[in-house]
């Protein structure tokens, strides 16, 4: 049956209304206007990710990104934030593995202020000693709180086991010991060798004209050059699991145990990415968290949440199931999830499940694109993963081409239910493992 979809393709962001301009120094600017609300959003990235972190200074890229706004050659910390906060604007930076991401928003009338502050933080941060020390205490406090967070600690161990020697295995914000060792000089050096206009992408969406955006960015960042920029190192290969690895992170005094189980998933650009996301939707997202939500929450009443996620990056990804359960129900939940994973990799999803998923993927497009930040993030992904400006418009057609057999092949290519990483974090139950 050739199902049509009830969506106006031309209302989606596409080549007809996304404006793109490359500056000679390597900066790419993308823009889409929206005059429905008097605000404007910026979103972007540059290639100063945590993959550059030395092993004994894990957290350096993240620390540097946080420190950019602690003072510049022309503005101290309070002056800088006073400019932004006085007009209700916001701006922030945060490193991930491949990139340092930037984001901000303002009333449209304040976009020039936002862009000039952005440029000042990128080009002229001075990393004042007192603010570096203060920020270090804040980051370490965050890491101390993280050590008590069952969700974060299970995720941390999961990534460590799954990704081995690859930077995906390591937390962007580092560890207490590695952050302790980071000095002001490390930040200055990191900024000098990894911040530059090459590969800088800036997306602006909101109540502003393309020409004005291009002129503003060119004026503030067009002359930026950094000949000293380091190239990304070659990264170690990511190996598949040979057997199931089970780990428990004991955190005393917790009512709930967080469970993460899963394996490697496709990279964002992989040809089977779309069939994996549709399969993932059926497995643990659709409606009330898909098949896994139905088994673990709806039928067994074991958890408030039990769902799956697919995280796809440049070189690889992860395919995860996570749930929060009472410690006495942990093994039961693991077994229920395993059952669902076995079924998912043994038999194709039904035609009606697939049609549900397809309708959901296409139908939710307008909703995911209603806010400026939703549009800006979508456009940034098109650019970052080279998906093409017409990606969103071709998306419905591509979604409709996926078949149950393709989803099964994809599921089998990635998920082996007998070779998983299974991590729990919480307070071990006394009534089991006696």
């Amino acid at each position: 049956m050739n199902k049509s979809f009830d969506i106006n393709i031309n209302s989606l962001p596409g080549p007809q209304d996304i404006h793109r301009k490359s500056l000679p120094n390597g900066i790419t600017i993308l823009h889409r206007e929206n005059f429905q609300s008097p605000s404007v959003v910026i979103s972007g990235l540059l290639s100063a990710g945590s993959l550059f972190d030395p092993m004994d200074k894990l957290g350096l890229a993240y620390f540097t990104s946080m420190a950019l706004m602690r003072g510049t050659e022309s503005m101290d910390f309070q002056t800088l934030y006073n400019r932004l906060e006085s007009v209700g604007a916001s701006l922030g930076f945060a490193a991930s593995v491949h990139n340092t991401n930037l984001g901000g928003k303002a009333l449209a009338e304040d976009l020039p202020l936002l862009i000039s502050t952005l440029a000042d933080c990128l080009l002229h941060p001075i990393f004042p000693e007192t603010y570096v020390a203060r920020l270090k205490a804040q980051i370490i406090s965050g890491l101390t709180i993280r050590a008590q967070d069952t969700g974060e600690m299970s995720a941390l161990s999961f990534d460590r086991i799954l990704f081995g020697d690859h930077p995906y295995a390591r937390p962007e914000d580092g560890f207490i010991e590695t952050v302790q060792g980071i000095t002001r000089n490390n930040l200055v050096d990191f900024h000098r060798s990894h911040y530059g206009p090459d590969n800088l992408v800036i997306v602006v969406v909101g109540a502003v004209k393309a020409e004005d955006v291009f002129n503003l960015v060119e004026k503030e960042l067009g002359a930026w050059k950094n000949p000293q920029m380091a190239h990304a190192p070659a990264l170690p290969a990511i190996e598949r699991l040979h057997e199931t690895v089970r780990e428990h992170v004991e955190i005393p005094g917790k009512s709930q145990t967080n469970l993460v189980m899963g394996t490697l998933g496709p990279r964002r650009n992989a040809p089977d990415y779309l069939s994996a996301t549709l399969g993932n939707n059926i497995l643990g997202q659709f409606g009330m968290m898909g098949r896994i939500g139905d088994a673990v929450r709806e039928k067994a009443g074991l958890a408030y949440y039990a769902s799956t996620s697919l995280n796809a990056w440049i070189e690889s990804g992860s395919w995860e199931v996570s749930a929060g359960v009472n410690p006495v129900n942990l093994e039961k939940a693991i077994q229920l999830i395993l059952q669902e994973l076995r079924r998912f990799t043994r038999e194709p999803v039904s035609q009606s499940e697939l049609e549900d998923g397809q309708a959901n993927f296409i139908g939710r497009l307008p909703l995911s694109l209603e806010s400026n930040s939703g549009v800006a993030n979508s456009i940034l992904n098109l650019e970052r993963f080279n998906l093409g400006l017409d990606y969103l418009q071709k998306y419905p057609e591509r979604v409709m081409q996926i078949t149950p057999e393709e989803i099964l092949r994809t599921a089998q290519a990635y998920i082996d239910p007998e070779k998983l990483v299974i991590v729990s974090a919480g307070t071990e139950s006394h009534s089991e493992n006696g």
């Binding site: 009830d6 969506i7 209302s11 929206n34 429905q36 609300s37 008097p38 605000s39 309070q78 934030y81 006073n82 906060e85 006085s86 007009v87 209700g88 604007a89 916001s90 009333l107 203060r134 205490a137 804040q138 406090s141 101390t144 709180i145 008590q148 967070d149 069952t150 955190i251 005393p252 005094g253 917790k254 009512s255 709930q256 659709f286 409606g287 009330m288 139905d294 929450r297 709806e298 039928k299 067994a300 009443g301 074991l302 958890a303 408030y304 929060g324 009472n326 049609e355 549900d356 309708a359 959901n360 139908g363 939710r364 307008p366 909703l367 694109l369 209603e370 806010s371 400026n372 930040s373």
Partner: protein, 427 residues
């Protein structure tokens, strides 16, 4: 301009409509005046559990059917239970909105409350509570709230106590549902891409036929003000100390609420009142950030002011530094509050808070779901003018009013002081 309409159906259900044609989307919200404020001892958490049961199906839409139908159409739906209200929303492609009208009008009266579903949902709700218990700030909040009120149900957590969640039975849930879920206790709010007269016709067809049973507004005995400073200590796992100060805050409909909103903005930074989307802005130039974080007395500070039916709480919450005694932090906060009590703020500071509020509302208005939220939410403690006049009412706040609010509301002798002491750091 967006077209606004307000209608009262014969069965007592108030309807708010706002036509917005920026995207082919409609957001549909039903609000009920029920939440922890309406709960009696032994039944805490019942309103929230009823909200869960509302997803378990009716004869017309059995469990699972709804989820599937909404998701297939690319919609999102969810529900929230709070102190003063319970709300259910669907945001859908405009052409599919009839499903929301049908299902919400149906489950307003026809939910089944199957005993097996009640049993399995009991453990789900307990699991939700256990997830919260993992958080030190939840434990601290729970202890401080129950100390801040003697009798008012605001002293209980919306999720309920474990003892009550174990004791509540199917008929308790069903009776609570039948009592509060009826058109005369509900407000319908719809925002988005529709034509007012045709949607009104559909509203009358599906909701108009339901029978309302008028309810007297629940008046609770007024809670005496705190007569001293209470000290609460919570011990739990971890290595981080958290501190909090709570004061009785004005009800949302009280003109003093807007003054308090400005005061909060100056002290701890502007808070976004948007429920869905919009995001917030940082608070690094606020008085307490400068006094505490810039002086290396604390790691972070935030303020909490919520729009409620009855006077609730204004809270200041701090993440402590391991090398600083809590007493020192409290003393520094008192010094800053003393400054607000003794010296008038400048008009410029108030203007700044107004501009921040204007920006936060602009961010929130990009999103149809948030527009629908505001239409109904304000009815739970005031009327929609509360929202439409919000910025104007902030503009009317004067330095004298801020000073007076600091003196009367942020009263040191009438507050609860809470400390979460990590066991990991004690030994």
């Amino acid at each position: 301009m967006d077209q606004m309409t307000e209608v009262m159906l014969e069965n007592g259900m108030k309807v708010h409509l706002k036509e917005i044609h920026t995207a082919p989307i409609i957001s549909h919200w039903v609000w009920y005046r029920v939440g922890s404020r309406y709960e009696t001892p032994g039944k805490t958490g019942i309103s929230h559990w009823v909200e869960h049961m509302q997803f378990k199906g009716t004869p017309l839409f059995p469990a699972g059917i709804l989820d599937r139908a909404i998701s297939r159409d690319g919609g999102v739906w969810n529900a929230f239970t709070y102190m003063d209200w319970t709300t259910f929303f669907e945001t859908m492609p405009a052409s599919k909105i009839d499903l929301a009208l049908k299902l919400e009008s149906d489950r307003m009266v026809n939910s089944r409350y199957d005993p097996e579903e009640v049993a399995s949902e009991r453990t789900v709700v307990i699991s939700e509570r256990e997830g919260s218990e993992n958080e030190p700030l939840f434990r601290l909040e729970e202890a401080v709230e129950s100390a801040a009120f003697e009798t008012h149900p605001y002293r209980n957590e919306v999720i309920g106590s474990i003892a009550d969640l174990n004791a509540i039975q199917r008929d308790d849930l069903y009776n609570h549902y039948r009592k509060y879920y009826n058109p005369s206790n509900a407000v319908l709010a719809i925002a988005g891409d529709f034509d007012t007269s045709s949607i009104l016709e559909r509203i009358r067809a599906v909701y108009g036929k339901l029978v309302g049973s008028p309810m007297a507004a629940l008046e609770l005995p007024s809670e005496p003000s705190l007569s001293s400073e209470k000290h609460i200590e919570v011990h739990g796992p971890g290595e981080t100390t958290f501190l909090t100060l709570v004061y009785r805050a004005p009800a949302a409909s009280d003109p003093a609420f807007f003054v308090m909103s400005v005061l909060d903005s100056l002290l701890t930074g502007p808070s976004s009142l948007n429920m869905v989307g919009g995001g917030g802005i940082s608070n690094k130039t606020s008085r307490l950030y400068r006094a505490l974080i810039e002086k290396e007395l604390a790691i972070s500070v935030s303020g909490g002011l919520q729009a409620t039916h009855d006077p609730y709480l204004y809270s200041i919450t701090i993440t402590g530094r391991p090398d600083i005694e809590p007493e020192k932090v409290f003393a520094r906060i008192d010094e800053e509050i003393g400054r607000l009590q003794d010296t008038k703020v400048t008009q410029e500071e108030i203007d700044r808070a107004v501009k921040q509020a204007r920006a936060l509302f602009a961010y929130g208005s990009e999103n149809i779901t948030n527009q629908g939220f505001w239409l109904g939410y304000t009815e739970m403690f005031d009327t929609y003018t509360w929202f439409s006049e919000y910025v104007k009412r902030l503009q009317a706040v004067t330095p004298e009013m801020v000073q007076q609010a600091a003196q009367t509301i942020l009263n040191r002798a009438a507050r609860v002081r809470g400390i979460y002491l990590p066991e990991g750091a004690e030994s």
